[in-house]
Symmetry: none
Amino acid sequence: MIAEIITIGDEILIGQIVDTNSAWMAQKLNAEGIRVKQITSVSDDRQHILSALAGAAQRADIILITGGLGPTKDDITKQTLAQYFDVPLVLNQEALNNVLNIFKRYNRPMLDVNRMQAQVPQNCVVIPNNNGTAPGMWFHEGGKIYVSMPGVPFEMMYMMEEQIIPKLKQTLSLPVIIHKTILTAGEGESYLAEKIADIENDLPANIKLAYLPKMGQVRLRLSGYGEDKGVLQQAIDTYADRIIERVGINFIAGEDLPIEKVILNLMESRGLTLSAAESCTGGYVSHLITQHAGSSSVFLGGAVTYSNQLKHDILGVDNETLWSFGAVSEQTVTEMVEGALRQFKSDYAIAITGIAGPGGGTDDKPVGTVWIAAANAAKTMVKQFTFGNKRAQNIERSAIAAFFMLNTLLKEATI
Amino acid sequence: MIAEIITIGDEILIGQIVDTNSAWMAQKLNAEGIRVKQITSVSDDRQHILSALAGAAQRADIILITGGLGPTKDDITKQTLAQYFDVPLVLNQEALNNVLNIFKRYNRPMLDVNRMQAQVPQNCVVIPNNNGTAPGMWFHEGGKIYVSMPGVPFEMMYMMEEQIIPKLKQTLSLPVIIHKTILTAGEGESYLAEKIADIENDLPANIKLAYLPKMGQVRLRLSGYGEDKGVLQQAIDTYADRIIERVGINFIAGEDLPIEKVILNLMESRGLTLSAAESCTGGYVSHLITQHAGSSSVFLGGAVTYSNQLKHDILGVDNETLWSFGAVSEQTVTEMVEGALRQFKSDYAIAITGIAGPGGGTDDKPVGTVWIAAANAAKTMVKQFTFGNKRAQNIERSAIAAFFMLNTLLKEATI
């Protein structure tokens, strides 16, 4: 089954935004055994959109379109689809109710342009948008499926996951395809590959292993294709178990979850609490944790102590320590993590202090130098890391390294 | 002058990597007055590449191609270009010397596949690659310019900046193109559109206005095309000034910057410091601020007080207040923001407390209820918001609303 993605909007073509939607959609489609043949970004121009649609329909069975559904004049996707299918636009009551509800909820007067968002080409099935005013549209014409979605990422994502993917599976007969993801942390891609080389060589032709590295983590994805679901699942599970055993301490989870969510699940099941003391990560660690629903049952909170004054005032780091060893040191991170345990009264704490860059580096402590600690009442683990010279990466890698250290401490605590 | 970008490689189509190259290239091209008409991502497949080339040549004057120049079997861009132009591949001595030098520098044995990287279609001008073994290729055929570059971002970027862009400017007479972005916050897309409808209707045919909404912010982008740079700049500036005046308090910046960066710049120029007290945003506000290099000169830090205990212990919120009014209340957010000012000794502070969801809502305070405060020594601003029922959006919109409130307070303070 072949799909194509068409993204509509000048903002991509002038480089103002990076098209992250397409990669996300391609991943979801591939996971269901639908191959993406081409991704095409076109301008908000009627003739151009029409020819992109016609071209895609020649190559693919499924054409997914994002963008150009907003209420303003430059948004012409809907009118163009009506022209493409040679049908009029009609008012859809369900879509109108959705728009009315949204304006009611926010208690704001509705404009004519918003009412027009409920107009759709006559031949479409409306896909409700639970997160915005523009409805999605599903067309089944000439043996092809066309789906038009908003370009706003979270609107598109919810629509894809909750409605489009299930509807595609229902409508098409897709092959049996099973993915199994193993999350690892703390070891690089090539080292992992060497560690499990013999298992990878053993894999049968219908099971592929992909390495998906990302900032201190590597996801190993086994993808199996076959006829019999039970047989395929058993084969995948057997290889997954071998890999997990081999990977050892670097194994985080046998599913595709963020590492901090794995930790939250574990800590919640054991009734444990956590706090964080962040310097160079500047709130990012707390943000990763608190983005998850229910995190408040584990995470009490923490401090972003960017200044030395706050390291002293909130966490109780000794001014003498800061003076003698510096803010980025084993001694400071130890006092930070132990201060967090004491002041925030949590069972576990993590602390990070480092030089994210681009400024602030010295010969002794170049940009990328980061001290990380994890602690409970019985033990404090501390380690120095040397990351690179990119600020965003240093923040990201520090967070992942802190979670890996915490996960290791949690594992030890059960032994 | 019209360009198209063709990216070649399966890794984009399976969603393993996000195509960041195209946005970068599009920005560079637009800055030189070259409009990008279409971006097309195709697989490593000969027929598919040939038809993408033919399609692009029908629409554009310049076709920029990235990817598929590596030494492995799946890299077929060069062979396909030779077929497209109906010319043989020939060994290029300059390209070979480059490959030899690279292998000599790293002291590694050269393989046959690497020597073959110095083969290029006979009709091309070789563009030296200072950062890798694959040469770039420049073709001028049938009145069109085709450029093939490696897909590795830094190899492509150096090639574009140092060689392709200068060569394009030398070869073509380019029109003038000017973009101007106006960042607004605190008002929705359709309200803004209504507010400035008459200005938008006044725009001449060579100036376009685009709305780029994102979670409580809308960027307005004026794009002008013309012959005379001075005349066009003046026209754009005039319309931009009219829009900025009309938008009033919702105007944040006359350039394409994140709102928190605008605030950091303003506060740094005035020598002011900032702290944050976050509950439902859970560190996200601090993270947005600290992702920017140099933020430590303004941002002292803050607290993520997820639990009531920490609201009391770190920020000094009265237990009586928490008990009587609840953690999500005008009284609590006021004590949070004033506690932050007092405890963290900053000139300004922001505080956020709300119910991000999906749990925790009540009839009185449904999910999405958020109280936000901004304060300096002279004034505390407090406002209640009612966002939606999605956790990630509630966090994002709360952060933007807090920055908008802080920006408003900073503006007032100069009056």
